[in-house]
């Protein structure tokens, strides 16, 4: 495996609240190599979107990111606003969940794509506009010249997400962060967008951090998968290993609760309860209250991530056994 493009160490994202910081991302470590796809799964509030925003330097104030994000040999945490701007949209780009609201409603999509090259490659609007038409064609949009002049509301959901992808890839970034890019789309359109992302990855060679709540989607495209729960990574493994042999009780529960298209059961297994409040004072494993295996030890100390098989990490006292 080549040297990592992205190395995240002890990343925490905290928001001030009465009596200290509330950490929605509470110390996570992972790495991503060029050209690879990392899937990040978890339920709402697990910190997966905030991790993505931290990579972009876009944690909304008054939130703060701490720890270390090394990208391409540079430390991103603590760099200046100008340095962030030079990176965003250029070397690291992002695709969001809802293409209708993520695009500017009063600007033609061609101009929105061209803007990226105007900002980073210092092209004129005319030349960048021509490139935008070519990019729309590259993401599979028919009659790209007319579409470039269209406003977002004049495009279908699938076309809007294609335009978003064209915008994100306008400067051929080294890392594409995709936050639930297909969640708002219909299944057949979702399949088209996933195909497109893989095809463009082949062509451009960017690494993808693909965030989703949908295990099945992530399983189809990711090389490695991170499972997040309440601000922590509970399990990290190559995709095949994770689904073949999930080690953390939460991962096991998530996979088991999904209805299996191949076989129908009378009752789906459930994970009881809900996601806990991210309290700074909480001790022990964050999943303990919902876990069938939990004992006093789990409630006393937070389990560290341990490598239980090559490349397979789980943060659970019961997983190693």
């Amino acid at each position: 495996m080549s040297a990592p493009l992205l190395e995240v160490r002890g990343l925490r994202v905290g928001f001030p609240r009465a009596g200290g910081l509330r950490h929605v991302v509470a110390g996570i470590d992972y790495a991503l190599s060029p050209g690879r796809t990392l899937g990040v799964v978890g339920e709402s509030g697990c910190g997966k979107s905030m991790t993505a925003l931290a990579l972009m330097g876009l944690v909304p104030p008054p939130g703060r990111a701490e720890g270390s994000i090394r990208f391409d040999g540079r430390e991103l945490i603590g760099q200046s606003a100008a340095e962030w701007r030079a990176l965003r949209g250029n070397r690291i780009a992002m695709v969001f969940q809802e293409p209708m609201t993520a695009l500017n409603p009063v600007m033609p999509v061609g101009a929105q794509i061209a803007e990226v090259q105007v900002l980073h490659k210092h092209l004129g609007w005319k030349e960048a506009g021509e490139n935008a038409v070519a990019m729309l064609e590259a993401v599979g949009i028919n009659s790209p010249r007319e579409r470039a002049r269209a406003y977002p509301h004049q495009l279908s959901g699938g076309m809007r997400q294609r335009a978003m992808i064209a915008m994100a890839l306008a400067c051929e970034p080294a890392l594409l962060v995709a936050d639930e890019p297909t969640t708002a789309l219909d299944v057949t359109i979702q399949a088209q967008i996933l195909d497109l992302m893989l095809e463009l990855q082949d062509r451009i060679g960017m690494a993808i951090q693909f965030i989703s709540h949908n295990l099945a989607v992530v399983s189809e495209i990711a090389h490695e998968i991170i499972v997040m729960y309440a601000g922590r990574i509970v399990e990290r493994a190559p995709a095949d290993a994770l689904f073949a042999n999930p080690r953390h009780p939460y991962t096991q529960g998530l996979i088991a609760t999904l209805p299996d298209p191949e076989q129908r059961v009378a009752r789906l297994p459930v994970i009881p309860g809900g996601v806990p409040d991210l309290d700074a004072g909480a001790r022990g494993c964050r999943f303990a209250d919902r876990c069938a295996l939990a004992d006093a030890g789990c409630r006393a100390a937070e389990p560290p991530a341990e490598e239980i098989a090559p490349g397979h990490f789980a943060a659970c006292f019961k997983a190693a056994a």
Binding site: R88, F96, E98, A102, N104, P105, M107, Y151, M164
Partner: protein, 317 residues
């Protein structure tokens, strides 16, 4: 689009027709008619003469018939004579209209520009010190009565400092551009400040809402500088609701103009209509009010067109 404008103009004409009847009837219902004042200045008139005059002016006819006759004339541009000025109505009205429009348009532009600057600055950090100061100013602008502000300005800038003339539109014997401009400064500031407060609050609220939107985050994710995010991506979106409100309130500015003109003794529409009604100058009052209606209808049409032009999602059909 052409079809839309055509339809709107047809609608406006219909409204104008209805309004003309309403205004005609209301003025007709006012106590006293033109003859009363004529006779007051000529107590020796015999009942025969009065009856003759009444016939001559058509005042013996029922209201509906008189209205129709007036309408017939009005449609070909004949608005009759102003009794108090002894001039055709239009030659009294047009200079007043120009004067008022000058005041309104300059004040409007000034308050819009000021409101954009203040509103955007306040929205950058809601709850910050700058926001607090601007909100206080906006609130003061909304609360302070126009006449009080006018009096204070006259007191400070005309009486004490002698920077600007206190009243009128030109100095007798001068009347150059500089002189006219100096006469406009205080009325414009007074009228502008009255609407700036409200406008600023609209701009601020709209900007705060837009700055929270997903596409603003997208703009930042592209690496756009903060000024570009605010002025190009957010501002254009924030304009949409604001411009509508602003254009609609252009008509409301008329009320303010009436007060301002009275305070600064300027011969505009407000003062003209006021005097016409007090003096039972039927034709002048009626026509003046109708033109005021036209201004309001026009500003509504401009508001809708601006909305459609700014927001590509709105198809005007």
């Amino acid at each position: 689009m052409t079809r839309y404008i055509l339809r709107r103009i047809l609608q406006a004409l219909l409204v104008l027709l209805v309004m003309s009847f309403v205004i005609y009837s209301l003025i007709g219902l006012m106590p006293g008619d033109p003859l009363d004042i004529m006779l007051a200045s000529n107590p020796g008139a015999t009942p025969e003469v009065v009856e003759h005059l009444r016939k001559l002016y058509g005042l013996d006819q029922p209201l509906m018939l008189r209205y129709l006759r007036w309408l017939q004339d009005a449609l070909v541009g004949q608005f009759g004579y102003s009794r108090t000025h002894s001039l055709p109505v239009l030659s009294v009205l047009v200079p007043a209209l120009i004067q008022t429009c000058k005041l309104m348009i300059i004040s409007f532009i000034a308050s819009v520009i000021l409101a954009f600057i203040l509103g955007i600055l306040a929205a950058l950090k809601p709850g910050g010190i700058l926001d607090g100061v601007i909100s206080l100013f906006a609130f003061a602008g909304i609360s302070v009565p126009v006449f009080w502000l006018a009096l204070m300005m006259i007191l400070v800038f005309a009486v004490k400092l002698h920077w600007f003339p206190a009243s009128g539109i030109a100095t007798v014997g001068d009347g150059g551009f500089r002189d006219q401009a100096l006469h406009l400064v205080m009325p414009v500031i007074t009228l502008a400040l009255a609407s700036t407060g409200g406008f600023t609050r609209y701009v601020r609220a709209s900007m705060i809402e837009v700055l929270r939107m997903d596409h603003v985050r997208t703009a930042r994710a592209k690496g756009a500088a903060e000024w570009r995010v605010v002025l190009v991506h957010a501002f254009r979106n924030a304009l949409i609701p604001v411009v509508t409100i602003m254009a609609l309130s252009f008509g409301v500015l008329f009320n303010g103009a009436l007060l301002t003109e009275t305070m600064f003794a300027q011969p505009g529409m407000g003062k003209m209509i006021y005097d016409a009604i007090l003096g039972n100058d039927f034709n002048l009052a009626l026509t003046g009010l109708l033109f005021a209606t036209v201004v309001t209808l026009l500003s509504n049409l401009v508001a809708d067109l601006a909305y459609g032009w700014l927001d590509p999602r709105i198809a005007l059909t």
